[in-house]
Symmetry: C2
Subunit: 336 residues, 2 copies
DNA sequence: ACATGATATACATACGTGTTGATATGGGAA
DNA sequence: TTCCCATATCAACACGTATGTATATCATGT
């Protein structure tokens, strides 16, 4: 085991026979430094394998080069793609990403603030407004995904509409264009302990479009709050057997839609002949299930790029437009 | 907009009319403090909403309470489950997790070291040994997933065998038990720019078991290095049409297995009658594809728990066993 | 000749915290 | 009394870095 003391700026200075200040100037490249000394410092840095301590720099106010991404559900394919893209783009800007899910506590908020992240991205249907406000008051650069409705967002907070709301409306319209009138909405299958998602924008989009298109619509057409696939299937079957008329199903995500398809099959009905099914996310199950699922694709890469870019803008303090909206893309397959 | 200066220990001291040192003692609870003053400090902390700056504490050597998880492919369901579990367990220990994928550069290694993470977890088939060594030399607590072979790992580095190697062997044995003799291996569909995965333990498991079971085996039975589903399908069809005998297919993950099933269907062969197919990961596509895929389930929650626990052990310096291995679990469905 | 600007260096301070060592008080035991 | 220990406090330093301020040298232009 080699000697293990952290190599510091003082070591470099000693090795290069210059003052610490010179070393600092070379590293930050913001002052005149004699050519000869500069070279000696560079050699010393390489030789000693020195790297400025990021923690100390952060304390001095240079930023932590870290971004935190606050989400709720991180365990689905659609989300992991976004994370992956963000990770990539963030790194191009020199940032590392911390990820966390379902941390809706004051304790957590305080921790985040005390860690001096350079920026925060929130994509959560359950993260309370009150906590978002604390981040805003702490003046931390912030970008929000409009997975749900926010109120009174200042101009210096980035907002990204990833198209979920309009996408959900598109889904309904498409089912209508296929002659469907009696549409069921299947919410996501939640893991225990997660809140209800009644302010989810996909659901809002669904409801708004149903009303705007003057389709008949009651609460019975929404299946939500289920914790297992079996429960969802049972609910669907029960409602249809109780006389609810259904010729179309809109799954909040592809998983929900697939579960709905199993339920339909179990009732010896055919997809899409008897009931059309449409999903959301264009995840891999939508391509491999049978029949293949018509679904809505999001511009995940573009969205991720926009989020990181916006954050960078805010961090740099440049006065640019911090609102962006994206459209979803309908992928036609066999289930409609 | 409220006044925005960071509230610091000095503010608390002033508010409570005590010295800064007293505040520190109250927070760290490591010295005698007068009961009255203690209460005043506690009130002040609450009133001012003070929280010790994590960055400054880190600089003073108290640890950053951050862990970094280095991976290669983070965009699949199996992995996102592990991340999700880790996030949960880590938070219970007071840690936040940074996530990053495919950062195989010296620059990145230096960055990680300079950020003073309390621990590192590596699950990558491509992260070079040389960099791992740097982490070890820097004395950063480290846990490795045996996704590939490592050499000369010191005793104070945690190692977790998640069962991929033995699981792969189980898959082969199971196909053999079903009377299959001519088995094809389908590697993962890689995104451009990723390295070949010839030291992947699943592949090793496959090869070793094929040889041990004395099945005929040539390189032609391995389909790897493809960048798209179409390419994989084409390769399978080509080889079979060229006369390669195939009655079983082992997909490195469920996605590969599903693609293989499409190829088989396109040749008007039947799964499982003509060719048995087995996957790996028990991801959701394995339940929704048709026929439903036999696959191998990993103990993701237990593995994640073990990783965080080990890291905690190393950080605390307690002398415990830092080796753990898990078994996979065969899930029988329709494809075999 | 002088003023000016570019080049070049170093000291001292600050970021917000944890901890050492010194000091003070009071009570009980010798 | 004197000694010891528990209680209680705080000034000063250290972690590793960035930078404002001060100072010095030198070439250039007037």
């Amino acid at each position: 085991m080699t000697n293990n003391k952290r190599v510091t700026r003082a070591d470099v200075a000693k090795y290069a026979n210059v003052s610490e200040t010179i070393v600092s100037y070379v590293i930050n490249n913001n002052r005149y430094v004699d050519k000869d000394k500069r070279e000696r410092v560079e050699v010393a840095i390489r030789e000693l394998n020195y790297r400025p301590n990021n923690v100390a720099r952060t304390l001095k106010g240079k930023g932590s080069n870290q971004i935190i991404f606050i989400a709720d559900q991180i365990t689905n394919e659609y989300f992991s793609r976004i994370v992956s893209h963000m990770d990539k783009f963030a790194y191009n800007h020199g940032y590392l990403i911390s990820l966390c899910a379902n941390r809706n506590s004051q304790e957590f908020v305080s921790q985040v603030i005390s860690r001096q992240y350079d920026g925060i991205i929130i994509s959560s249907t359950s993260f309370p407004d009150e906590y978002v406000e604390q981040f805003i008051n702490a003046n931390i650069p912030l970008v929000l995904f409009m997975n749900r409705r926010y109120h009174n967002i200042p101009k210096n907070v980035g907002i990204i509409d990833s198209g979920l709301y309009s996408g959900a409306r598109e889904c309904v319209k498409y089912l209508i264009s296929k002659g469907r009138r009696h549409i069921l909405y299947i919410d996501r299958i939640s893991s225990k302990g997660t809140k209800s998602t009644m302010d989810d924008v996909r659901l809002s989009g669904f409801v708004d479009q149903m009303i705007e298109s003057k389709l008949e619509f009651t609460e019975e057409q929404i299946i939500a709050g289920c914790y297992s696939e079996e429960q969802v299937e049972a609910e669907i079957i029960k409602r249809i057997q109780n006389g609810l008329k259904v010729d179309g199903i809109f799954g909040r995500n592809d998983m929900s839609a697939c579960v709905a398809m199993s339920a339909v099959k179990k009732m010896n009905l055919k997809v899409p002949e008897d009931i059309s099914v449409i999903g959301f996310d264009n995840s891999s199950i939508s391509r491999f299930c049978s029949p293949k699922l018509t679904t809505m694709e999001m511009q995940q890469e573009e969205i991720s790029h926009a989020a990181i870019d916006m954050l960078q803008m805010i961090i740099e303090g440049s006065e640019s437009d911090l609102r962006a909206s994206f459209k979803t893309n309908l992928i036609l397959r066999e289930s409609t």
